[in-house]
């Protein structure tokens, strides 16, 4: 009941998920490679014109992260479903939002690491010039993945327990994420282009608003989702 106990649960879940993730996916190497592969595919699809590629860079980066992220979200609950661990998890007393919070943390760490690799590859592949306002770019990236992971972890709690998880998760998640993605892409694009119109900060504020609203909503709603 106390904050201390809750934190114990949150960190136990996050740690368990990260260990599982590390052991079951042979490190981040494969995820890194997958991110890069996606970027290469986007390069094929929308290249080879250098300017067109540079215009598409922000979009390609975010889509690569999104598609790879969906894999992680579903996976994070599937581990619970194998051999009935979810029933066991629900048997522990205490507040249910801690389960969400734990998974949120592990997914955030996972997706951040993936992002770092994908961005590094993207800079090379799409010939991105790092803008002088790179701290802002970093903030954009972080806020973007917070939004992505908040909603992804939440919807995966439902989708992964249905018969159609592979289809249902993107179906529920992608439309809800459109504002986050749009804001993240637009802000990134503006910053990469030198932010001549000073529009980046408006997008970043929008992003922040989204993150906060959905994080709070998800923490409250999670109980209803996991309980039944």
């Amino acid at each position: 009941m106390t904050w201390n106990e809750d934190w114990g649960r949150i960190s136990a879940i996050a740690r368990k998920d990260l260990i599982t993730e590390r052991r079951s996916k042979a490190g981040f190497n494969s995820v890194a490679a997958l991110g890069v592969t996606m970027l290469v595919l986007f390069g094929f699809a929308f290249g080879p014109d250098a300017q067109a590629l540079r215009d598409a860079a922000a979009g390609a980066l975010w889509l690569a992260i999104l598609f790879a992220g969906v894999l992680a979200f579903n996976r994070s609950y599937q581990v619970e479903l194998e051999s009935g661990a979810l029933d066991e998890l629900l048997q522990y007393p205490g507040a249910r939002w801690t389960i969400y919070a734990g998974k949120l943390i592990s997914n955030l760490i996972f997706v951040s690491l993936m992002l770092a690799i994908v961005v590094a590859a993207g800079i090379v592949l799409f010939q991105i010039h790092i803008p002088s306002a790179w701290p802002m770019l970093l903030v954009t990236l972080l806020l973007g993945i917070v939004g992505l992971v908040t909603l992804g972890t939440f919807y995966a709690a439902m989708a992964s327990r249905t018969r159609a998880r592979e289809v249902l998760l993107p179906l529920l998640l992608f439309p809800m994420l459109v504002p986050v993605l749009l804001a993240a892409m637009s802000a990134s694009k503006a910053l990469l282009g030198g932010d001549l119109m000073h529009e980046a900060s408006a997008w970043i504020r929008l992003l922040l608003g989204y993150d906060v609203i959905f994080l709070v909503a998800a923490l409250f709603a999670f109980e209803h989702v996991i309980e039944v």
Binding site: S11, D87, Q91, P93, G94
Partner: protein, 233 residues
Amino acid sequence: MDLQSDLPIDAIRVARRFGSKWVLRGVSLRVHSGEVVGLLGANGSGKSTMLRILATLLRPNAGTASIYGHDVVSAADEVRRTVGILAHAPGLYDDLTARENLRFAAEMSGLPTTDLGSLLGEVGLSEVADERVRGFSSGMQRRLAVARLMLRRPQLLLLDEPYSNLDSDGIVLMNSLISRTARGGGASLIVLHELAPASGILDRTVTIVDGRIAKPEKPASYRVPVSAAGAIS
């Protein structure tokens, strides 16, 4: 439920359906402190469903059930503190080691994580304590699940065919957990098909027939296995 009874299990006309099929049609069951009760019934008669309802994993469609006076629907959190279930599936994480699985259970229950080693020794898994559960045989997984139960020391044990996959040492282990719980004032409800391994610790049995507990006076239409009939007579 104005009058709170403090029985380990007090289920009143619990009913549950899946789709339009009524599996439980009004199960009333009382288990007293110190009792070990066997729950029998044919395949598909709803025994696992009943256990899951008592463990707050499934909600009844009608009727009420309370565990030590706490309603399984409205006071689920209190119920979870007192109940331990051993289901068909062991509920372990395949990519964690035996020790890590136990540590996780301890952390989630707010218990100290020392002494896990001796617990693993008790269930005979010391040698594989740091191996991943993925490669465990079915009996080893079940032993680990038993260790997790022993760690949490629930007052009420809900055991779904606890002896399957266990060898004779494992059966002894299981029985000692059950009788230790009973001596400590707890209780157990055990789903069984074969009474032999539980002979000597069962106080009584009840049988689910047609979604209800069969009347004890008329012999249950469910036949007790031949080989086991002697064991409890």
